[in-house]
């Protein structure tokens, strides 16, 4: 490679796990150091936002953007990095789908503020003081970002070139992406760097056609057969609606899938597809019994839209 690639990595509304997953690629990180000039990476290096503002447009070759967009600062930086980057990658489930923070769309903004600043047991705030974007103090005016009404994925804010799913993305997926970037052999715009088939195809558990669930349970409530499909044993697993590519790492550890890789091809809404999948394993034709069986599924919306609420068909609750 002749010239080094300019690389930027940013975290918006995220936990930091995506940044760690980049460091987690072991010796491959040396390739990154060799092939790239890092231009911006707040978690690891000392660059200021004003540095980025000074860069010429399109001067960053690749930007890996992780985290959802919930406030004005995140939105501003997303737009800024879009302008400065040739290739913008939504890195991780939050940037791609809204992710875990996306579940905040089950509540309205004021409900969240009330919970955090008034109702929480560890908070004493009888005057009901909420953070304000601008506060005057003796030394001058303080400014914090404006908290938006809802969580959005990166694509809902700016144009995105590629998507890397995962919470966090696996080393294999990151390596696939790095290989594509370093070799210059890029897939068509809009590609999700993941498997081609749904997760059940790569899941090691044994599946049968026998769908005989009389009761839905959570993993801690039963001793289940480790060799068999979890859904067929009444443990809700989001695998049927989720794209593969993760290597079924959770399921291999007997933890049911929660769908962090996002919808399988041709699935527009994980929750809706899961309704079909769950219905298909119920063993009853009696409406009263069916009602009883499904009443045991706790927090269905939260489970089915664990990572995808902002990009689902409904996008938020009423």
């Amino acid at each position: 490679m002749s010239a080094k690639l300019n690389l930027a990595i940013y975290w918006a509304g995220s936990c930091g796990g995506c940044d760690v997953s980049i460091l987690d690629i072991n010796e491959r990180i040396l390739d990154v150091a060799q092939n790239c000039d890092i231009k911006f990476w707040p978690i690891a290096m000392d660059f200021k936002l004003s540095d980025v503002e000074k860069y010429a447009d399109n001067s960053i070759d690749v930007c890996l953007f992780n985290g959802c967009v919930r406030n004005s600062e995140q939105e501003h930086i997303a737009k800024l990095l879009r302008k400065k980057s040739k290739i913008l990658v939504a890195f991780g489930s939050c940037a791609y789908l809204g992710g875990i923070p996306g579940m905040a769309n089950f509540n309205k903004k004021q409900e969240i503020l009330d919970r955090v600043y008034v109702e929480a047991q560890s908070v004493e705030n009888s005057e009901k003081i909420f953070p304000q974007p601008h506060t005057k103090v003796a030394e001058g005016e303080l400014e914090i970002p404006v908290f938006h009404d809802y969580v959005k994925s990166l694509k809902q804010i700016v144009d995105v070139d590629y998507f890397i799913p995962g919470c966090p993305p696996t080393t294999e997926i990151i390596n696939t992406a790095l290989n594509a970037i370093f070799s210059g052999k890029l897939p068509p715009k809009g590609t999700v760097i993941a498997g081609k088939k749904n997760l059940c195809e790569e899941c090691p558990k044994e599946k049968t056609d026998e769908k005989k669930v009389k009761k839905f349970v959570r993993p801690y409530q039963v001793i289940f057969d480790e060799k068999k499909c979890l859904l067929e044993q009444g443990i809700i697993c989001i695998g049927p609606a989720t794209i593969g590519g993760c290597g079924a790492r959770c399921i291999s550890a007997n933890i049911p899938c929660r769908g962090c890789f996002g919808p399988a091809l041709d699935v527009s809404d994980i929750g809706a597809k899961m309704l079909s999948a769950v219905a298909s394993v119920i063993d009853s034709n009696d409406p009263v019994e069916i009602e009883k069986i499904i009443s045991e599924i706790p927090d269905m919306a939260g489970m089915f839209y664990r990572f995808t609420l902002p990009v689902s068909l409904l996008r938020r609750s009423k």
Binding site: Y150, S268, D269, A272, L275, I290, I294, M300, L313
Partner: protein, 143 residues
């Protein structure tokens, strides 16, 4: 609520029983509200929950699914499949804040034109009382 509110209800009708039932309501000149938009499907079991969510997301105020009575399915078990899905759909809609009465599964046979008219009248009135859903606007907040 606007006084002139006319609910928009999407009705998925199974080709073998319910669509024929709706046809019979028409040829028998039974009057029923013009609020339903009928969509012919091969079987009530063909209705993916995605269709229901998409209907609400794109502006429907209510969704009705009609199929053959249990035991009468042309494909043997299609309506039983829907029978399992329907309460799950209701539960999910409820958790998303969509009132239960906006979604309904009914069995209407090919000879029950009057019953189809009755079901349509009921759901139209129930949804009219609930008022517009306006999910398009709700969705726009997270564009």
């Amino acid at each position: 609520m606007s006084e002139n509110f006319e609910p928009r209800i999407v009705a998925f009708l199974c080709r073998w029983c319910s669509y024929t039932g709706a046809d019979l309501a028409g040829t028998s000149r039974i009057k029923y509200p013009a609020n339903v938009v009928p969509i012919k499907v091969m079987c009530s079991g063909r209705v993916d929950p995605t269709f229901v969510l998409k209907a609400f997301a794109d502006g429907a105020d209510g969704v009705l699914i009609c199929g053959c009575h249990p035991g009468d399915c042309h494909y043997d078990i299609g309506n039983y499949n829907m029978q399992k899905r329907a309460p799950l759909i209701s539960k999910l809609l409820k958790e998303m804040g969509i009132e239960e009465k906006r979604f309904r599964l009914e069995w209407v046979s090919a000879s029950e034109g009057d019953r189809f008219a009755e079901v349509v009248k009921e759901i139209t009135e129930e949804v009219r009382n609930l008022g517009p859903l306006n999910w398009k606007e709700i969705k726009e907040a997270v564009k």
